[in-house]
């Protein structure tokens, strides 16, 4: 589904990602962990093609197609979807207005999805305009449910979300990744998590640890998370055998 090959990316003239490589096969969900400022969000934004980043070297291959130089909207139409950690506020565009546009485009009935994500009362408001953390996440996932991307990039789905809403968010992710039956699984995901709560709702196949713009470790996501919970990311840095578990 997705192959990132030795991707190096600069933002504001500074190198943020340093030769990052990873592969996510169809139907798999991978988890990305790492301390603040390690480059996790940048990796997701670079895969989506956001404009404030400069790809210095490397390639992004999505479904056998090199998308490194494609504009954002073309990547989205090919099947890449992103839920940002901090979405911009668009007071001019109501959630309903965007839902209608997306519903028409992707041929999905958005009304039941709004209800499922508890977004009905947000529909008339401007996008992310005075939304709480939980409202913002639910609204993002609601949009993605209409869009139905093949590859789902999610930046900290649990941040700012209370325990009640985390179940709603987890369920939506589960639905987006079509994790019901193993044989139907063709949607892939790359998800950043800080707290690991979201692992309770997902069948995550692979985990990575990113430090200073490099992937320093990969393995079973639950094992990795347990290690990090015990020893912190300093443990990862110190861990010599960590390279290939």
């Amino acid at each position: 589904m997705l192959t990132v090959e030795k991707l190096s990316v600069k933002a504001g003239g500074q190198l943020i990602l340093d030769e990052v490589s990873l592969t996510i096969p169809a139907g798999e969900t991978h988890i990305l962990m790492g301390p603040n400022g390690s480059g996790k969000s940048t990796l997701l934004r670079a895969i989506m093609g956001l404009g404030d980043l400069e790809v210095v070297s490397g390639r992004i291959i999505f479904q056998d197609r090199d998308v490194t130089k494609l504009p954002i909207d073309e990547r989205a139409r090919l099947g890449i979807g992103l839920a940002m950690q901090h979405s911009p506020v668009l007071p001019e565009v109501t959630l309903e207005g965007l839902a209608q546009v997306l519903g028409d485009r992707y041929g999905n009935d958005w009304r039941p999805l709004a209800t499922a994500l508890n977004c009905d009362y947000l529909l008339e408001r401007g996008l992310n305009d005075r939304f709480s953390g939980g409202e913002s996440k639910r609204a993002e996932l609601f949009q993605l449910l209409i869009q139905r991307p093949q590859l789902l990039l999610v930046d900290e789905p649990e941040s700012g979300v209370d325990l009640v809403n985390i179940a709603v968010v987890g369920k939506a992710l589960h639905q987006l990744l079509k994790q019901g039956k193993i044989k139907d699984r063709e949607h892939s995901g790359l998800i950043i998590t800080h707290t690991g709560h979201i692992l309770d709702y997902l069948n995550a196949d692979q985990g990575y640890v990113m430090i200073n713009g490099k992937l320093v470790c990969e393995g079973n996501p639950r094992d990795l998370f347990e290690e990090i919970s015990k020893h912190g990311f300093e443990g990862c840095v110190a861990c010599a055998e960590c390279k290939r578990r």
């Binding site: 504009p71 909207d73 668009l90 001019e92 565009v93 546009v101």
Partner: protein
């Protein structure tokens, strides 16, 4: 009771004299030009025409005027100096009156009491020229207690190259009445240059409600100076919507609503798209004189190409229980466009009056466009969706057909790209 003709003649003479004195007085705002360049009285034809050609019907439609008069209670259409429609739909007979101002002044002596009462005849050379060379304009009167559900429509159309229109309109909403007026000003496509001077006076009586929407549809070399005043009595309410979506050479307008009656309310909504080399100076003035008066002025302006857009707004309170709000928001869509917002608040001997304003001018955020692009919208579609929302957000009471026009406009803007 008919007034002595001599008395009316005296009033007329006094007005003409004051106008003559002010014929060279520049406008307070806006760029200066000489209205005399567009006065050619010989071109004021008075052909009798009973209907509009199919082509002109299309032109009228663009300014919100439906020539088939579907879903309309009354219609007035003036092409250059000729009045082509002055009709009230059968159902609304006895509820609305609509006719040319000349006919109305002949019919009603009392109308002179409303003539130049909310706008000063000697305010500037443009009011002066309107008085000196006035031809036509409409008289609309909603009769006491009438609730007119279907809109009243009017259209002032210009079809002569280098011609001009000088109209004086009077609208009276009698006690307890309510109505909606859609008024379009437009030019036929071949006409490139001309001048439009239009004085409009509104009188909204006790407990009456009037919603008035003005759609301007000019050509790139047009000079336009509307002069508008509204007087509100007790419990009266007035909504004034102004829409400008096409290029124009120079347009300056600063309508004033005087909220004299207790609990009267007024709201100005403006949606402006400055295009090509348009020089626009647009604002509104709300004077809150009566107790418990409420006012709101909301404007949304987008400046494109080399347009220069100046947004004004003034709130003046002379009553302690007055409350009003001013909001101007501008969006710059081109490197060469200019935009300026000048909000003004004034309180006269009313220390407890509550006035506030909010003004913001900026570009469309790149981050916002990219956010929508991550959902698969092209850059054009994302831009259009943002502009469409920007123009309408916070604007309430806009008739449905206008929403459509604004949406179309947003689409046309983003096609040019940013």
């Amino acid at each position: 009771m008919r007034r002595v003709q001599a008395e009316i003649k005296k009033v007329q003479e006094r007005l003409k004299e004051a106008a003559w004195e002010a014929r060279e007085k520049p406008g307070r705002y806006g760029d200066d030009f000489d209205p005399a360049a567009f006065i050619n009285v010989h071109s004021d034809r008075n052909e009798s025409q009973s209907e509009l050609s199919a082509k002109l019907q299309e032109v009228a439609l663009l300014s919100g005027f439906d020539p088939k008069e579907r879903q309309r209670s009354a219609s007035y259409l003036q092409k250059d100096a000729d009045v082509l429609y002055e009709k009230v739909a059968g159902l609304y007979d006895g509820q609305v009156e609509i006719m040319s101002i000349e006919r109305a002044l002949e019919k009603y002596d009392w109308l002179w009491d409303y003539w130049w009462k909310t706008v000063a005849v000697d305010a500037d050379k443009f009011t002066a020229y309107t008085e000196l060379y006035q031809k036509g304009g409409y008289f609309i009167r909603v009769l006491p207690g009438a609730k007119v559900e279907l809109p009243i429509q009017s259209c002032l159309m210009m079809s002569e190259q280098e011609g001009s229109q000088r109209v004086h309109n009077i609208v009276i909403a009698e006690e307890g009445s309510s109505a909606e007026i859609i008024s379009g000003c437009t030019t036929v496509p071949q006409v490139e240059t001309g001048m439009h001077l239009g004085v409009t006076e509104f009188y909204i009586k006790k407990g009456a409600h009037l919603s008035f929407t003005m759609i301007h549809n000019w050509a790139e070399n047009f000079y336009v100076r509307p002069r508008t005043g509204a007087l509100l009595e007790e419990d009266a309410s007035f909504i004034n919507n102004y829409i400008l979506l096409k290029p124009v050479k120079s347009l300056q307008s600063n309508p004033r609503a005087i909220l004299k009656g207790r609990r009267s309310r007024a709201r100005f909504n403006s949606i402006i798209h400055g295009r090509a080399g348009s020089v626009l100076d647009l604002g509104s003035v709300l004077e809150l004189i009566g107790e418990e008066t409420r006012g709101e002025a909301v404007s949304r302006a987008a400046a494109d190409d080399q347009a220069q857009v100046l947004m004004r707004g003034k709130l003046l309170a002379a009553s302690n229980s007055a409350q009003a709000r001013l909001e101007c928001k501008g969006m710059l869509l081109s490197e060469e466009a200019r935009m300026q917002a000048i909000p003004e608040l004034e309180v006269i001997k009313a220390p407890r009056a509550d006035l506030n304003h909010e003004a913001a001018v900026g570009p469309i955020s790149r981050e916002a466009i990219e956010y929508l692009m991550t959902r698969g919208l092209t850059e054009e579609e994302a831009t259009s969706l943002i502009i469409q929302g920007f123009m309408k957000v916070g604007i309430t009471g806009l008739p449905g057909i206008l929403e459509k026009m604004v949406d179309e406009m947003a689409k046309s803007i983003s096609k040019g790209g940013l």
